[in-house]
Amino acid sequence: MNTEIHDKRIPIIRIKDFLIVSIQVDMHDKLAIQLQSQILNEIEKTGAKGVLIDISVLEMVDSFIGRMLSGMASMASIMDAAVVIVGMQPAVAITLVELGLEMPGVDTALNMEKGMEMLENRIKEQDIDF
């Protein structure tokens, strides 16, 4: 059982300055914690400027996963990487809101394409500011 969870690593793909994480399995708490540190390590290693987390196949989210996602966004942002969560399902959104997890600091997009656009814009704005 334990080894099974450890085996199921969620792949993190790097494209240019972005990391793409597509969650395609049910999230256990352990897997979530593992993913969190995995992503943060990857940000440090690659110097990525943005992270896209695709949760379009995730049908159920509990308060722990919700908190993990919003926590990850704030952690990544202090590491100078913007996080966009894409493809959330309506039922998941309703659940999160009912749980009181409105994720105020997290950017969201309807699909991967729009999320990518959003990240590009974000990075460009930062360049201009600089």
Binding site: Q89, L96, M103, N111
Partner: protein, 229 residues
Amino acid sequence: MSETFNISKPKERIERIEDVLATVAAGDMDARIQSETEDDLSGIEAAIDLLIDDLTDELRQSAKMRKEVEDKLSKIQEQQKTIVQQQEDLLELSSPVSKVWDNVLILPVIGTLDSQRTQIMMENLLQKIVDTGCTIAILDITGVPTVDTQVANHLLKTVTSARLLGAECIISGISPAIAQTIVHLGIDLSIIRTKATLQDAMIFAMKQNKRSEDARLQMQQSNSDEKDV
């Protein structure tokens, strides 16, 4: 002074009275004693006849009333059925979400909002956002007369959920009464974008559309410039 009653053929007449009473008790209301002799017993006989008359009337009337009540009951049941049917229809009809422009959805809300209706509305809207990929949703509440805490809370939840999906929700057409209620109830709508009229909301949506379009074009431009270099 005579103490005896003046009654002719008492045995037969009393039997007659018993017979008639038995027939009436069995349900035949037409039976009467109709005695023709005039003596001490005839008064009682006449009184019994009268009582049977009254009883017949009474019975007829109560039967009529029962029929009326039954008619009314069935009518009320029918009306109840209609009301339930209409409520269901209303729930189905009450939350149409339509796409009015590229990227723009409109949800006009008309009539009083209750929790159930808002819940269905919210689910419809979110599903439609996902199905069409629109990033702007306008919630027009011009047709809503009043709002209470629960409904305001539901509106807030709708907007927040839409944001989590990656769409922006604009509320338009907040009437003075609703604005007053919301502020009096102490609900903070400042995190929600509100516009005075549906027109304003549409204009805002178009501008937003144009802005993101421009940004995309610029992005493509700069990308191709990089390639040229």
